[in-house]
């Protein structure tokens, strides 16, 4: 047997969410990743976020490329359709799927090799187009699945497990997403679920291209001293700009943050993001400031986490293309085929 079915043990007392699902309904198959792999924590965060957001699992389409990270969609949301595409090209498949049916929630999961190395082209263009999605890169600085080669996000000077030093300049995915026009950009750490879950929840509520870079240590190949993507390194150098809480629509906001430290950000669907500022001067509505801030702190060896940027008025690809409101995969022949009489007119115009 090469796949592991998870035993369905439904506890009668498990709490249900507003769409009458328990957490269990958001789980998938048992992970086959290494014990301690950061990617599994991200899967757990996705499960929690979807449960808490009352997402109907079957209304999610989860897509990925190839890699350990890209395997994970099999390990959450077992009642969603999933698509493990080809290496580095998930963005185009997600774009096409989104064009076909705008009514689903699109969750793209990728790795740093998948999105920053082989797939950087598609990554760039899916952000530019403003495809309405949640795009998560599970960033470990290496190719896990092919056993530890450097990826394009590996820091210059960082050493591989075998002692090889990376001399190439790293690509910072969050900075890139900011530059390319993503309308929601955040960074999390797989070891900090409290920060990550609200970031994913807010991304789900966001309409437009939402990108989350999640530093996710690879315990097999990139968790040693000298790595800048290890648990220890990230814990020591984590520079969180804010903590967010995600408040579903119409819920009363009762948080006891100190005055001046909290800002409310209303999302497109009326939901509220509560931002607890850790840095008084940080303004997540300012794309240029976000880019500068990330770059400055990166230069100091710090990993900036939190919600880096959000634009609530973003327009998505469907709005740019002015497509009909109904999913186009539901349009009937009568709405698509102009018919024989029109064809006769076309013929006449070609004589």
């Amino acid at each position: 047997m090469t796949y592991l079915a998870k035993p369905k043990l439904h506890h009668p007392t498990l709490p249900q969410n507003r769409v009458c699902r328990t957490r269990r309904d958001y789980e998938g198959k048992i992970s086959t990743l290494c014990a301690g792999c950061g990617h599994d924590s991200i899967s757990a965060a996705i499960i929690q976020a979807c449960f808490e957001m009352d997402v109907e699992p079957h209304r999610v389409a989860k897509l990925s490329g190839i890699g350990c990270s890209s395997k994970t969609p099999d390990y959450f949301l077992g009642n969603s359709h999933g698509f493990n595409t080809v290496h580095g090209r998930m963005p185009s498949v997600l774009t096409g799927a989104n064009l076909a049916n705008r009514a689903l929630l699109y969750l793209g999961v990728s790795g740093d090799g998948d999105s920053a190395s082989i797939g950087i082209g598609q990554f760039a263009h899916v952000m530019r187009r403003g495809v309405n999605m949640v795009y998560i890169v599970e960033n470990n600085g290496v190719y896990g699945l092919t056993k530890g080669q450097f990826s394009a996000t590996a820091d210059q000077g960082s050493a591989s497990k075998k002692g090889v030093v990376n001399s190439d300049t790293p690509i910072d995915m969050a900075s890139l997403a900011l530059q390319l026009g993503a309308s929601y950009v955040a960074r999390g750490f797989s070891g900090d679920k409290k920060q990550l879950v609200p970031i994913i929840k807010a991304a789900i509520a966001h309409k437009g291209a939402a990108f989350i870079d999640v530093v996710s240590p690879c315990v097999a190949f990139n968790n040693h001293p000298g790595s800048t993507k290890s648990y220890d390194y990230v814990r020591e150098h984590n520079e969180a700009v804010n903590r967010i809480d995600f408040i579903p629509r119409k819920e009363e906001i009762v948080v006891d943050y100190a005055e001046g430290q909290v800002i409310e950000v209303e999302q497109h669907d009326g939901t509220i993001l509560l931002l607890r500022k850790l840095h008084r001067e940080y303004d997540p509505h300012n794309r240029v400031m976000a880019m500068n801030y990330v770059a400055e702190h990166q230069a100091k060896g710090e990993v900036v986490t939190g919600l880096l940027f959000v634009d609530n008025s973003a327009r998505d690809l469907h709005e740019h293309l002015n497509t009909v409101d109904a999913p186009i995969n539901t349009l009937a022949a009568a709405e698509l085929c102009p018919g024989a009489a029109t064809l006769a007119k076309i013929n006449q115009s070609l004589r």
């Binding site: 096409g96 799927a97 049916n101 263009h125």
Partner: protein, 615 residues
């Protein structure tokens, strides 16, 4: 020797009614294309079939370009070869253009600047007209001088060839409806040319005589036709990346969607077109949309297909409907980007690594581009696999006279085996890769269908019949054997071959496909007339239906005529049907120009006569 050629013997000037070739030698970007098309259409409107071909460089402005029009009362729409009247408007290509004129033919040129006698041939009739002089005297603006020069020569030619000026005026009125100024200036230029020709130029032996050879046929290029086919076939997602000669297909799709696919109430589009960042992204989007239940296509040419191959393998393995229109051009590599070939058969039929096999359709003309593009979506949905429409530059970018498009309103789209929420609730077993009824085709569900049933994980890796990851040998073999069975099922669903029997029983046959068609029809007439009898079979799809095997079995020798170097179709026939190579001699034309009837007639004629002698 008494039969010595006399150097001064002059061939008689050519004389022909409704059967000659005019070639325009122009400079790219000089606005000649629309004037030349006007010339072609005028003859068509007189009821005389024409067959034009653009011969253009990979360039925007300044390089030579040609437009060759065959006037053919007999209705032979293939390229004839040879030129009877050369309209030489490009000094750069003068020598080459002059050489192409048939002995006894005609040269029409701009004699505003005198040329030494040595630049001309003595065995042709030379007709000079001071076009630049006339333009300079009439127009002050440079652009006007250039554009109206084209209309002036059309006017002059209409006198030389007896083309009805009323027809041209009518074409102008249609084109410039509501733009009175433009209409008037075109009328003026036309008559400038006509007046000069009537007063100064001699009559020539070539003539157009009104006829009724056109009927209700339409005049359209294959790319436009395929685009309209995609609209009628229900395509909603088009992702593409510009490449000659396929770009005009995506652009035509956009144009017709804007006319025919906008919701009249909301003004919103019932289609989505994305110009992707490359062909990998184009096909990726098509795969995603097809997976999610939309009818999606991309249009490309050879280099694009090369980039798409990994995704094509995924679509084959994961069983996703995908339509790819390949407007073939000369390869390999950048090859001859503005010339025609049928050289992507193998790269498409077996695209991607591992054991793959894909459906190919071969339209012969724009009419079939329409039909087969529309049908491709049904086939892709039914068979859940990539379907290629294999057109080429000759069909795609040249206007061709063809039967009008038809649409059967009683026919519904075939969306294939898709399980709905009701199907799933009724307790039917759903195995995404399970062959439930023996045709090799499994059921699928679209994402979002049902809260708890029917979801599955799509992947290019191996899996069992219930879409669960599996590297077990038997699961793999079950799956890839089922894929083969699907291809078997496809044989009866794809367009079937079209047979044409020779006038007398014969042991010789010929197999051909696609844009070779018009040249072949003409060649078969010529061969029959020369008592060389050959039965013909025009293939319209791969995998080959059983009738292809039967046709080859019924003949001792079957010529395989194609426009590539390596006899790709022949190779596929040998491999797939296991015929002996001796039985299938290749007839190949691959210099980038469309194959001609003269070439086919000579090749097959000679070889049949040789075979008869030796047997």
């Amino acid at each position: 020797m008494s039969a010595q050629l006399q150097p001064d013997a002059q061939p008689a000037p050519l004389a022909a009614v409704n059967d000659f070739v005019v070639k325009f030698a122009n400079v790219n970007g000089s606005g000649s294309a629309s004037a030349n098309e006007l010339f072609a259409k005028a003859i068509l409107r007189m009821g005389v079939p024409v067959s034009p071909r653009n011969i253009f460089p990979s360039n925007i402005q300044g390089l030579p370009t040609w437009y060759e029009i065959r006037v053919t009362g007999a209705g032979y729409l293939g390229r004839r070869g040879g030129v009877d009247l050369m309209v030489a408007m490009n000094p750069q290509t003068w020598n080459q253009d002059l050489k192409e004129i048939e002995p006894g033919g005609y040269l029409f040129y701009d004699n505003s600047k005198p040329l030494p006698a040595s630049r001309f041939r003595t065995d042709i009739t030379v007709i000079g007209m001071p076009l630049t002089e006339i333009c300079n005297a009439t127009y002050s603006e440079a652009r006007q001088r250039q554009l109206f020069k084209n209309i002036i020569y059309v006017g002059a030619l209409s006198v030389l060839l007896d083309i009805d000026p009323g027809v041209i005026e009518k074409l102008f009125s249609e084109q410039y409806k509501g733009k009175e100024k433009l209409l008037e200036s075109n009328f003026k230029a036309l008559h400038l040319g006509r007046d000069y020709a009537s007063q100064h130029l001699p009559k020539i032996g070539l003539r157009v005589e009104a006829g009724d050879g056109v009927g209700d046929r339409i005049f359209v290029d294959g790319n436009t036709a395929a685009a309209i086919g995609c609209v009628y076939g229900g395509a909603t997602v088009c992702a593409w990346y510009p490449i000659t000669p396929s770009s005009s297909l995506a652009e035509a799709f956009q144009k017709y969607c804007q006319k025919l696919r906008v919701d009249p109430v909301t003004g919103k589009n019932r289609y989505a077109i994305v110009q992707a960042e490359d062909e990998i992204a184009s096909i990726g989007m098509v795969v995603g949309a097809g997976w999610n239940g939309a009818r999606a296509f991309t249009t490309t040419s050879g280099p694009g297909v090369s980039l798409m191959t990994e995704f094509i393998g995924l679509a084959y393995m994961a069983e996703i409907p995908v339509t790819i229109i390949n407007v073939q051009r000369g390869g390999p590599s950048t090859g001859m980007p503005t010339r025609t070939q049928q050289a992507d058969l193998v790269s498409c039929a077996y695209a991607s690594h591992g054991d793959t096999k894909h459906i190919l359709l071969f339209p012969e003309d724009p009419h079939e581009c329409f039909d087969q593009s529309a049908q491709a979506f049904d086939l892709a949905d039914r068979l859940q696999t990539p379907v290629f429409v294999m057109t080429d530059l000759d069909i795609g970018m040249n206007q061709r006279l063809c039967a009008p498009f038809e649409w059967d309103e009683t026919k519904e789209y075939d969306r294939g085996k898709v399980m709905t929420a009701e199907d799933l609730d009724s307790g039917r077993d759903f195995g995404r890769y399970l062959d439930v009824d023996g045709d090799g085709i499994p059921f699928r569900t679209w994402p979002g269908t049902h809260p708890s049933k029917g979801s599955f994980f799509t992947r290019g890796t191996t899996k069992d019949a219930y879409a669960r990851y599996s590297e077990a040998g038997p699961d793999y073999v079950y799956n890839v054997q089922r894929l083969l069975k699907k291809l078997e099922t496809a044989k009866s669903l794809v367009p079937q071959p079209v047979a044409r029997n020779a006038r007398a029983a014969t042991r010789f046959g010929v197999i051909y496909f696609g844009s070779t068609s018009p040249a072949m029809s003409e060649a078969l007439d010529a061969l029959d007339a020369a008592e060389v009898h050959v039965d013909a079979l025009r293939l319209r799809a791969f995998p080959f239906p059983d009738s292809v095997r039967q046709f080859i079995e019924a003949h001792d020798l079957v010529f395989v005529v194609e426009q590539n170097r390596d006899a790709q179709l022949r190779g596929m026939l040998i491999n797939e049907l296991e015929f002996s190579p001796d039985r299938l001699p290749a007839v190949l034309h691959y210099d980038g120009t469309p194959i001609t009837a003269r070439f086919i007639t000579r090749e097959i004629g000679d070889r049949v006569r040789a075979a008869r002698k030796s047997s």
